[in-house]
């Protein structure tokens, strides 16, 4: 039986809130990593605030990125870091979180520069190709699979037809990797068995909806 996450289960709405709720005393990397791993998704704000300025400066000076591109890539880097943590691709920190974010962000800037045919100033300390380059773990396969805007729109439209609470249940289980008991608590279902049944039916419904898109 997968244990419940130790932290209090945040409401689904809080995942989409925009309030800047940085902790007054930023958590140390190990604590922040552990907290995100245990389900405190709202700490992504703190992660972003802590490292954003440094990355924007670095990306503009060293990687020839525009400010907008640098911010865009850093946002994607934070999201990629989060997904690596919850999916278990990143189980422990072998370097500072900033190093990890910079490595991912750098790779995304290179990608964006390539798309824009922008020449890149060689970054002698880029670390690209290093054996322990954490950006190697970034899964860009979804970006590559879904660069077709039309296909992305079809999937988005299909999901919009799914409705609640199915979208909430499936997102908590498959994206945020909540154990079934945490999904039950978040959605307010009576039991893990009922939650499992509801999840199964919601997934079947989504598959039927997408098949008709």
């Amino acid at each position: 039986m997968v244990p419940l996450r130790k932290s209090a289960v945040p409401t689904f709405r809080s995942l989409k809130s925009t309030s800047v709720e940085a902790h007054k005393t930023p958590l140390a990397d190990a604590d922040l990593f552990g907290a995100i791993k245990s389900g405190k998704h709202e700490l992504l704000d703190q992660l972003y605030i802590q490292h954003r300025s440094a990355f924007l400066t670095y990306a503009q000076r060293q990687l020839s990125a525009t400010e907008d591109d640098a911010a865009d890539c850093f946002q994607d880097a934070v999201i990629a870091f989060y997904k690596n943590v919850v999916t278990g691709r990143l189980t422990e920190l072998t370097c500072e979180i900033r190093t990890y974010l910079f490595a991912i962000g750098k790779r995304l800037v290179y990608r964006k520069n390539h798309h824009r045919h922008r020449e890149v100033v060689t970054d002698p300390v880029s670390g690209i190709g290093m054996v322990d380059d954490p950006s190697r773990e970034v899964d860009l396969s979804l970006l590559n699979r879904l660069e077709n805007d039309e296909r992305r729109a079809q999937l988005a439209a299909g999901l919009a037809r799914l409705g609640e609470p199915c979208q909430q249940i499936l997102t908590l289980f498959y994206y945020h990797r909540y154990p079934i008991e945490s999904v039950q608590e978040a959605v307010g279902l009576p039991s893990p068995g009922a939650t499992r049944i509801k999840k199964m039916r919601c997934l079947d419904k989504l598959k039927r909806v997408l098949a008709t898109q």
Binding site: L44, D45, I49, R152, G193, R196
Partner: protein
């Protein structure tokens, strides 16, 4: 392997939880089983859609945070991109095949039911109800292979999975009367032909808006009415079910109505 085990394996595969040996074996199964391959493809597309939407939601969250930090105006808080009005629908492989398999299954069911009618068996409502009854798959528990411990709930569901319905009835009656436990108790009672005992359970569960299997309970309540000779009530329920395009037992209800009419 029951349906819940199958769903668990698919989840483990898609979420990267399988060890490499197990993963390789499962991928060989996918190569050999077309319906499994279709299921995996459809599930993967569903997960892609979820990932896309939540990536976008987090992106919007961070964009709005960036806007506040940089002092510029916040971007529009759209969580998902709008679908184009004239999107080209890409035909997905296997979907029409799946639809025809469902129609073929319904036709086969009708033929089988017709055979029973010709042989004088299908005239009896109870026999007809039993013909259209199949115990609902166990989605409530996840069996752990090799697990020697078995609490009361697992014992009840194991008896159910083993089609030992008399034992399952006895065990479910000893459990807490949750909706899920009552649903599977009713299933076990029906399978053991204790229709009078099953009827109030299915009727109550069918009326519960917050119960995930309420639509299924409506169908089984109709079967229970039929088994007890209450053909008029059963027909009325089955007509409602067959008219609902989203009902999971729409095809079965339509086939049964054809028998009754």
């Amino acid at each position: 392997m029951n349906q819940d085990d199958n769903n668990q394996r698919i989840d483990d595969y898609l979420l990267g939880r399988m060890k490499s040996g197990e993963r390789s074996a499962f991928e060989r199964s996918i190569d050999q089983d077309e319906s499994l391959a279709e299921d995996i493809a459809a599930s993967r597309m569903a997960l892609d859609a979820l990932e896309l939407a939540e990536d976008q939601a987090l992106k919007v969250r961070l964009q709005q945070l960036e806007a506040k930090l940089s002092g510029s105006s916040a971007p529009a808080a759209t969580s998902t991109p709008a679908a184009p009005e004239s999107a080209t629908v890409v035909a997905l492989p296997g979907r029409s095949r799946g639809r025809w398999l469902g129609v073929a299954a319904a036709l086969l069911l009708m033929l089988l039911a017709g055979w029973f009618v010709v042989n004088g068996i299908g005239n009896r409502p109870e026999q007809l109800a039993m013909t259209y009854f199949e115990p609902f798959p166990n989605y409530a528990t996840t069996n752990v292979r090799g697990d020697q411990t078995e609490d009361a709930t697992m014992a009840a569901f194991n008896a159910y999975d083993a089609a030992d319905f008399a034992r399952a009835v006895e065990l479910f009656r000893s459990l807490e009367a949750t909706d899920v436990n009552r649903f599977y108790l009713a299933q076990s009672l029906f399978a053991a032909k204790e229709f009078t005992a099953a009827a109030p359970l299915f009727s109550d569960l069918a009326a519960r808006a917050d119960f995930a299997l309420a639509p299924e309970a409506v169908y089984y309540a109709a079967l229970t009415d039929l088994a007890r000779g209450q053909t008029t009530e059963a027909t009325k329920s089955l007509e409602t079910i067959s008219a609902d395009p989203d009902h999971p037992f729409r095809e079965q209800a339509a086939a049964l109505l054809a028998e009754l009419n």
